[in-house]
């Protein structure tokens, strides 16, 4: 069974009288342990596809099976539970809660999962150690560099043992050196923990870190190729 399977996914936005077909019959299969870069120019539908994969948005039509379960027809709260358990998000702007320590930011997903305080603390410490931020638990986002903030976000994505990490331009706000460090962290997580990483980027050298590259144009998958690393 594939980890992710989409069949003929369409997403249509109505902007007044005009209908925008953001995704057209997208059918893809993603297996566990893959490292995928989704690429394409702006307006190609790659972000819409990420939102659908991330259960933040529902497709207008089509089937989306996540671990064999149809999530396209779930309600808000069921989708929230899926996002909490199965998906970890990493954003371009980090999206950490300000005025909240690194530790508490990482604890957040477990809070909504209803884990007891002791277990939350323990797991958050472990996740921060994995991303190389042991000892920085009490730092607030404004006391951390961009790379460190992104590491906190990655720790937050890891902490509920989600099988999938969705990263939307994770290096967009970082310099080249830090970008490479972050990408190496993704490669390590993918290699050591077999976490499926799906990232959106428009930078070729960032996409180089992936094993499979999917190109979107005008809502259609125009190419889907494996790199030499696979």
């Amino acid at each position: 069974m594939a980890l992710i399977e989409t069949q003929n996914i369409n997403k249509i936005y109505s902007l007044g009288d005009v209908e925008v077909n953001a995704l057209k019959d997208v059918s893809l299969t993603i297996e566990k342990g893959e490292f995928i870069a989704i690429m394409g120019p702006s307006g190609s539908g790659k972000s819409t596809f990420m939102n659908v994969l991330g259960c933040l948005d529902k497709p207008t039509s089509g089937i989306y099976l996540l671990e064999g379960i149809d999530v396209a027809h779930m309600n808000r709260d069921e989708l929230a539970a899926i996002r909490n358990k199965k998906l970890g998000f990493v954003f371009q702007g980090f999206n950490l809660l300000s005025r909240t320590s690194a530790m508490e930011n990482v604890e957040l997903p477990m809070l909504y999962d209803g884990l007891p305080a002791g277990e939350r603390k323990e797991k958050a410490m472990a996740a921060l150690a994995v991303v190389g931020l042991a000892g920085r638990e009490d730092h607030h986002p404004n006391q951390l560099s961009g790379g460190q903030q992104q590491r906190v976000a990655i720790a937050r994505a890891l902490v509920n043992n989600a099988p999938i990490i969705l990263a939307d331009e994770p290096t967009g706000n970082l310099d080249t050196k830090t970008s490479i460090e972050i990408m190496e962290l993704f490669v390590r997580l993918n290699g050591e923990s077999h976490i499926t990483v799906i990232l959106v980027t428009h930078e070729k050298d960032i996409a180089e870190f992936s094993k499979r590259r999917i190109f979107f144009r005008d809502g259609v998958v125009v190419s889907d190729e494996l790199s030499g690393k696979a």
């Binding site: 539970a81 998000f89 999206n95 909240t100 809070l111 909504y112 209803g114 305080a117």
Partner: protein, 409 residues
């Protein structure tokens, strides 16, 4: 699953971040709650005092006063001519079925002397029935006997204030005092009763037999004349019929023609007190209602701030949703924030309300009573305000689209 303790912690943190704003928002509730507490305390205090005074003058009381008379075609002012007599009092006692006790009163002010002490006080000539009419027991000694009443004996009962001023530590029973230079033997002491509704010291009085007052102290050209007749009806329900019976009887006894006005007035003391109590009750409600308006305004303040907060934190809400916060996780977070604001405001308001009630009674001398009900009520109401005015902003937050919220700058 909703983790309530954690949600409470999240809410507290959010409130701490904006300390000044939280404090100002609470201020509305603080003012509202303390106003409600203070107003209710003042109102309840006033009512309680009236209630106590009502009990102290006695229950189910009617007072028969002389009315205006017409003499040679000239209408005289009420009370200027004595029209009531001991005979009227006896007749009321005998004829009126709704009446329980009747006590005639002939009173005046006189100097009372014991040894080298003297005291100016009200002398009330009456009968033993007065003690029943007024529900006023003796703390020592005995009441007048029938023999003493008939023979106009020079005996008296003293109020506590008179005892304190004339005798100091000495037991007054059996002592001789002089009223208007007439020697009287003290046979009893009245229980202390305190102030009447007019603020008059009821214990500053001396009771003598009405016959003695008529013959030896305040005698007039009209033998048997009394100034007032006090009447106690059998029950509160009998007050109206007693009033009617007395009026009919006295018109008959005073030979008043059908077209003539009464030469007496029957006054319902209990009714007057009840009216006073009713008006303070209305007053209390009114004050409470006005104070509640400020509580309502405080609630609207909370809603306002919560709406601002939801807009400001759109991105935070988006992050929380992406990470797995469900509809009610978001709603509860904001409701608890609003509830915390209003509850802390409520507690502070209660404390300020209690202290300001104390200040009011200290400065103005008004009695204030803080009832537990008013505390529970205002605490509950501030909680309700928090939930009520917190719900809409929380509801709005929970309906945000996570994608839109994450994009919000």
């Amino acid at each position: 699953m909703i983790n309530v303790p954690a949600t409470i912690r999240i809410s507290f943190r959010a409130l701490r971040v904006n300390k000044m704003r939280s404090a100002l928002t609470m201020l509305g509730i603080i003012i509202g709650v303390s106003a409600v507490i203070t107003m209710l305390a003042v109102g309840t205090g006033a009512r309680q005092r009236i209630g106590e005074q009502m009990a102290s003058i006695g229950s189910n009381l009617l007072m028969v006063l002389p009315g205006s008379t017409t003499s040679g075609g000239v209408r005289m002012g009420a009370g200027t001519q004595p029209t009531l007599s001991t005979g009227d009092a006896d007749a009321i006692q005998k004829e009126c079925l709704s009446v329980m006790y009747v006590a005639p009163v002939l009173s005046g002010v006189a100097q009372v002397i014991y040894g080298n002490q003297n005291w100016s006080t009200g002398i009330t000539g009456t009968t033993t029935s007065m003690l029943y009419v007024r529900d006023w027991p003796l703390s020592a000694g005995r009441p007048f006997t029938d023999e003493e009443m008939r023979s106009a004996s020079k005996v008296c009962l003293l109020g506590q204030t008179v005892v304190d001023n004339l005798f100091g530590g000495i037991n007054p029973i059996g002592q001789i005092i002089r009223i208007k230079n007439v020697p009287f033997t003290v046979i009893g002491v009245l229980d202390a009763k305190g102030q009447d509704p007019g603020g008059h010291d009821q214990d500053d009085t001396v009771y003598v037999p009405v016959t003695t007052a008529q013959k030896k102290l305040f005698g007039t050209a009209f033998p048997g004349m009394v100034r007032i007749i006090m009447v106690k009806a059998k029950s509160a329900d009998d007050l109206a019929s007693a009033e009617k019976e007395i009026a009919e009887l006295l018109r008959q006894r005073h030979h008043i023609g059908q077209k003539q006005d009464d030469d007496f007035t029957v006054r319902n003391l209990t009714q007057m007190m009840q009216a006073a109590e009713q008006s303070t009750k209305v007053m209390t409600l009114l004050l409470g209602a006005i104070a509640s308006v400020s509580l309502l305004v405080g609630g609207i303040g909370i809603m306002n701030i919560m709406l601002v907060s939801v807009t400001e934190r759109t991105r935070e809400i988006g992050i929380r949703m992406a990470i797995g916060a469900k509809t009610w996780d978001i709603r509860l977070q904001f409701i608890i924030e609003a509830l915390t604001l209003s509850m802390i405001g409520g507690v502070v308001g209660i404390i300020i309300g209690i202290s300001s009630s104390e200040v009011v009674s200290l400065i103005f001398g008004w009695p204030t009573v803080i009832s537990p009900v008013s505390i529970i009520l205002s605490f509950g109401f501030s909680g309700f305000v928090g939930i009520f005015f917190g719900f809409y902003p929380a509801y709005k937050a929970s309906l945000l689209d996570p994608i839109e919220a994450l994009r919000y700058e």
